[in-house]
Amino acid sequence: MKKKRLLLSLCIIIALCISGCWNYSEINDRRIISGAAVDYNKEKDMIELTVELVMPISVGGKMQMKSESFSGLGDNLFNAVRNLISKTGKKIFWSHAKVLILSEDIIKEKEKFLSVIDFIKRDAETRDDMMLLVSREKTAKDILKTDVKVQEIISFHLEDMLKNQKSISKYRAVPLWKFVDELSSEGISATLPTINIAEYNKKKISQIYGTAIFKGAEKVGWLNGIETKSFLFVIDELKGGTLVTVATNLAKEPVKITFEIFKNKTKVKPIYKDGKIAMKIDIKTMVNINEIDSSLDFMNEENLKRIQRSGEDTIKKMVGNVIKKVQEEYKSDIFGFGAIISRENPKLWEGIKSNWEDIFTKLDVDVNVNLNIRGSALRSKTIKIGD
């Protein structure tokens, strides 16, 4: 009995002593970073890490946030992270970093790039939903040093932009987990949104626009904003945004009509015919008419049908062009057609996997668009200009 009791109390004491959460630290003993940029320093063959530090201070009871950028060099990213301590004073805390900006240089250095991604994914502190961006500027750290700040913290500003992508649909927000997933799985190539610096009121402002296309771990090309929208159409990630069509069949002069996209559903299906594979893309879009640049009676069913047809044609053309461009120029399956085939017909996929790149570039794509005009916002007619 006594032995039992001793054993029991020993168990409890040991459980209490040797277990528990790891890494005690007070909040203000850490430097919270909101985002980071990774560059490649060619002369020294080193990785340069720039972090944006958030320094919340309370002034008279009110909280104010300040941000400051620090850069550190290192052979690899982890070294750079630790070398930063000599500048920041305290260890940096990654758990609230929202964005990671990669420069083109670092992407070109394949090994360095992969080790960066590896560290970011492996480390316990970094978040899986951290957004990745590719800088179109020379270096990535410039992005963190732009002048115009809608928000005090640039990284949070970037995060806002990425989060609200569904209303613009000119870039695709890619969190870390998705990027790694696409990078490592077969039949799909990774993409990342790109960021550049624009002039605004003679000040620098960062702007996210377009997509960088990867093939394997190599960057092979860009897509601009409109192309990105078509790309989003195909991968069924379009949630909103606008669509402009120029209808020539309505009046003597072409009429420019702007739709607001409400809902989109894209189904991609492989079709096997005579030993050949083709992709059938069904796009079902629900839109609202939002802007028309001439007077037009679209309560007329005939007119409405024409508008619809014009919109369908536009989408078809857009999507067709992008697919063609990617097939011919980049040869990278960013649409995930391969993944769809492997899902639908794994046996077939096993056979064609090895020369998928060839097949992809010659893949026939059949695009069907079904545009559904739901309404026309608050007005049923265009404004008639009186004298």
């Binding site: 959460c21 890494n23 909040i27 201070i57």
Partner: protein, 517 residues
């Protein structure tokens, strides 16, 4: 184990022999008897000896012995002394013992008893009865003429309500019993008296409804009461601690209330009530964990409102035990779990605060407990000073002086306020909160979970007079959970609580549906 400790402590101090009771006996001589009582009440100036005679020519000498202040003087004068003085035994011409005539014909009193035992006489006398000694008899008459001032029936200040009966118990046991009796007019309602306290001889009443309360529980209560040997019982808390299950647990297994309607409701569910003379707090047992969250008002208000209140109380229990622990765990171990804007504002608030979060938390909780205790202890006029000092010094100034950070003040305030939603549990909450806090300060959320598991193991292992403390917590049966986190409408409460009211399960029969069970 406790017995060993007790014997160790008592060993030194127990007197070899308790003072032997003297052999007091009444004799047939009045003067001797008076002398006896004078000796017994030696040095006590409140005792009164009133000697008088009947109207006869050869009168019967009497002496009324009573304690000044404990008897109703009007009754003594009008109903005892006056009839005797005006009575003539000769006139009545009855061939009976004088003492019987006194008892049956003369004295106007609701309770007259003839007693020989001096101890019985004394104990009644000390409780406000008068002893009538007659010359020539070795027995005395015990006359009920209790009359002392008691507090009026007021609304209890500890349990205030908006809707429902506003009356509360007072310090007189008989008044309390009538308050209960008035609610349950049924011959099955039983009151059994006992006496406890070797020195105080406090009256205790075990109250239950026969055929409803479990006989085993009543037997068990009596058995435990039998074992008590204590000199004084001044409040029901004495008894509560002496007979409760899990004596070391901060959670109580015996409920107490000042409200007759709560006692009546408990009795009707098959519980037993212990009413102790001299205190308005009546004990009810068995007491389950969920009763902490039940208020009498729940049954008077609509069931939706009542259920919302219940859920809020349970949530307050969670807040009160866990908020400081979770806050400390999150801010010192799991910063990644805090939403970014919140993290930044906490970080800004903590800038310049010299102490670790755990020290802050302990300090503020201690300060809150000090404030709470002073608030109760302080004379009422000074009460506002305390709230002023507490709010201003501890709240604002401490934050401005960077003594503590603002979030911890919010955490403490939230904890403290939730505390009062389950007022009976405050004592237990302090302990639980502290344990949780320390666990999560050293082990993080893991430690907190450890604490929660420990708490549940503890609660699940407890019993109150044989009834599992967490009864029905894991059940999904409608009749089991009818009165737990939700309070179902009265028209669904067909059955009395499980196990407690098993003797007579059916509370309500609308259609005979549940009679079969």
């Amino acid at each position: 184990m406790f017995r060993i400790i007790r014997d160790k402590i008592l060993g030194k101090h127990r007197k070899k022999a308790v003072v032997t009771a003297e052999d007091w006996k009444l004799v047939k001589n009045l003067d001797e008897n008076i002398k006896l009582f004078r000796e017994i009440f030696n040095n006590d100036d409140t005792i009164r000896f009133r000697e008088f005679e009947t109207k006869d020519s050869s009168p019967v000498k009497c002496c009324l012995v009573f304690i000044d202040g404990m008897v109703n003087k009007e009754i003594v004068n009008e109903n005892i002394i006056k009839p005797i003085v005006n009575f003539s035994l000769k006139d009545s011409n009855i061939n009976r013992k004088a003492i019987d005539i006194f008892k049956d014909k003369i004295i106007i009193s609701s309770a007259v008893k003839e007693k020989k035992d001096v101890y019985e006489l004394l104990s009644s006398c000390l409780y406000g009865d008068a002893i009538l000694l007659l010359d020539g008899f070795d027995s005395a008459l015990l006359l009920d003429c209790k009359g002392w001032n008691t507090r009026a029936i007021e609304e209890p200040s500890s349990e205030t309500i908006v809707r429902g009966p506003k009356e509360g118990f007072n310090e007189a046991i008989m008044t309390n019993l009538t308050l209960i009796r008035r609610k349950i007019r049924n011959t099955d309602l039983k009151f059994r008296f006992r006496q406890l306290g070797t020195c105080t001889k406090t009256k205790i009443c075990i109250c239950y409804i026969e055929g409803l309360a479990s006989q085993e529980i009543i037997t068990e209560v009596n058995r435990r009461l039998d074992d008590i040997e204590i000199d004084a019982v001044l409040e029901s808390g004495y008894i509560e601690e002496l007979i409760k299950d899990s004596p070391l647990s901060p959670f109580t297994t015996i409920g107490n209330t000042e409200r007759p309607d709560i006692v009546a409701a408990n009795l009707l569910e098959g519980r037993v009530a212990l009413i102790i003379d001299g205190t308005p707090h009546v004990l009810t047992l068995p007491h389950l964990f969920i009763e902490y969250f039940q208020a009498n008002e729940d049954y008077y208000h609509g069931f939706i409102y009542a259920s919302i209140n219940r859920i809020i109380r349970i949530f307050a229990f969670f807040l009160s035990t866990s908020v400081p622990a979770i806050y400390v765990a999150l801010t010192t171990f799991h910063q990644e779990m805090i939403p970014t804007p919140l993290l930044l504002s906490i970080s800004a608030a903590r800038e310049g605060v010299p102490f670790p979060t755990i020290v802050e938390a302990l300090f503020m909780l201690l300060a809150f407990e000090i404030l709470r205790e002073t608030g109760i202890r302080l004379p009422k006029p000074a009460g506002s000073t305390i709230s002023f000092v507490g709010a201003l010094i501890l709240g604002q100034s401490a934050v401005e002086a960077r003594f503590v950070s603002a979030p911890i003040v919010i955490v403490t305030a939230l904890t403290g306020i939730s505390n009062f939603l389950v007022p009976q549990m405050i004592g237990a909450l302090i302990v639980v909160r502290l344990i949780f806090l320390l666990l999560s300060a050293f082990l993080g959320l893991y430690g907190y979970i450890f604490g929660v598991i420990g708490l549940f193991i503890h609660l699940m292992s407890m019993r109150s007079f044989g009834i599992p403390y967490m009864l029905n917590i894991g059940s999904l049966d409608m009749q089991d959970i009818k009165d737990t986190a939700i309070r179902v409408p009265w028209w669904i409460m067909y059955l009395r609580p499980k196990l407690i009211g098993d003797n007579n399960k059916v509370r309500q029969t609308n259609d005979g549906l549940y009679e079969k069970r």
